[in-house]
Symmetry: C2
Amino acid sequence: IAAMTSAPVGRTAGRTVDVHASVAVPVTTPDARCREVLDGMRGRRFESASTVAVCAADGTLTGMVTMERLLAAAADTPVRDVMDAEPPTVTPATDQEQAAWRAVHRGESALPVVDEAGRFRGLVPPDRLLAVLLAEHDEDVARLGGFLGSSSEARSAALESVGRRLWHRLPWLLLGLVGAFVAAGIVGAFEHQLEEQVLIAFFLPGVVYLADAVGTQTEALVIRGLAAGVSTGRIALREAVTGPLLGVLFAAVTFPVVLLLWGDLRVAAAVAVALFAASSIATVVALALPALLHRLGRDPAFGSGPLATVVQDLLSIVIYFLAASAILT
Amino acid sequence: IAAMTSAPVGRTAGRTVDVHASVAVPVTTPDARCREVLDGMRGRRFESASTVAVCAADGTLTGMVTMERLLAAAADTPVRDVMDAEPPTVTPATDQEQAAWRAVHRGESALPVVDEAGRFRGLVPPDRLLAVLLAEHDEDVARLGGFLGSSSEARSAALESVGRRLWHRLPWLLLGLVGAFVAAGIVGAFEHQLEEQVLIAFFLPGVVYLADAVGTQTEALVIRGLAAGVSTGRIALREAVTGPLLGVLFAAVTFPVVLLLWGDLRVAAAVAVALFAASSIATVVALALPALLHRLGRDPAFGSGPLATVVQDLLSIVIYFLAASAILT
């Protein structure tokens, strides 16, 4: 018996459970008595002894039994009577975060890994699951916050020097800076409309903010859904409906308010139409960008956070000025 | 022996470890032999048997020993020789997320709880630590994403109906809608400057975006730092320096670029000054808002995400137009 691996969990770790599985765990057969199992564990070194794998003679996993159940059972009880015969299992290729999520939601603190034939390949022990969840948490917050993934360790990121701080932040901010110049170019293309009706400029920040807020909500859903094993496809339809619905609500509120407070029917209509269109597109962008990056062989997580915000903001500016141009001329 | 609690972990759970501590765990004395401890656990029901608490006669926790070490040790070894004599401990009032963080970073999968006098009060078992980490993760992503905290359960949030989706999103979006009208009012106050020099409007989205991006990074640091037990105070000084430094970098890039591409010295200066000022203030706002909410008796976490974004965006608009007014007149 030897541990398959002791690779550190964190930013450099693989994203699948295979690097976390340990074979230095107790294994028994369904017919063994609880006492025999407990006796047989004495004097041996395990990486994790909290759960015992129950395997048939051919190595197929037939169940799992926790130390707590082994201790509580009568000494002569066969393991098959106290084991969980349908434990949640994962394959070596399962995403590590989904595996951890599944374990937690089944109330398990260790997770057996089986191959395609159902043979036991090892156990992801509790301390590994904990480390995976913590690392993924740090990574998500770093991504949404616009840090380089490599600074995802919470404590060090919070306390690192000003120089390293700048280094971990600048890449995404430089993207934002380029975005700012592109935005200026887009607004400049509609200079004529702005000069004719300066009121258009009043609502530019609001339209950009609201569409971005809708998209950010979708991003959060996708990130959390992926962790829980929910595919983007299952989220997509409802999100694609939610965007336009929110857009209708925005339009229904802004049209009368802008008309009442600023007294311009056409600008009010342009703002309402732009909010509807931009909100409708925001959920689609938030769903499509990670999928697109995945197709391009990039980490889909980069489709959340700063990149998505910049793309969405530029789209919103285009949409708003197109709507204003169409309605005002 | 009875479990102190079996309260569900999640959004409704308390934020401290006391609700997670179990007393249905094995307890022994430092002088007991490993064999005695293992024998004594047979036939008993524990909530968690992965770690044994080692306590003196007066109930003071003197160490912790894992099941793995008990099994590996020679039968006659006293527990004191194999126990961890300085385990990481928490008090019942310790924040649950910080507790989980500490356990993971010490490589522990269970965490003893002791009172002020050092007496053992229970053990937070691995499955509880896992559940805490998952719940806090969901909560952080929901907050940053602009969802109601009550929809923080990842899987259900990803799959809930369109109606509930709207319900969980609308509160923060309505705040954004109010912010959009306030923004329009602020821009309107500078209508005269905009009519004189429409070029100002070109850089409005960029200034707002960049200051917001800087603030979002600080928010992410605060959220992750708090989880890791790093106080906002320790983050504050370096962040207060980082903001102006980023502002100087932004100004140094934008001034020549705006001057070169748009050919207006005064607008270039206004954009540069505004980016410097807005970035400097962004980190302060991101640090101060959670602290302010805490003072007002509100959850400081609401200082991250949509509320912080709206406040920062409005501030940036004011700063930009003040800078433009001062330089252009």
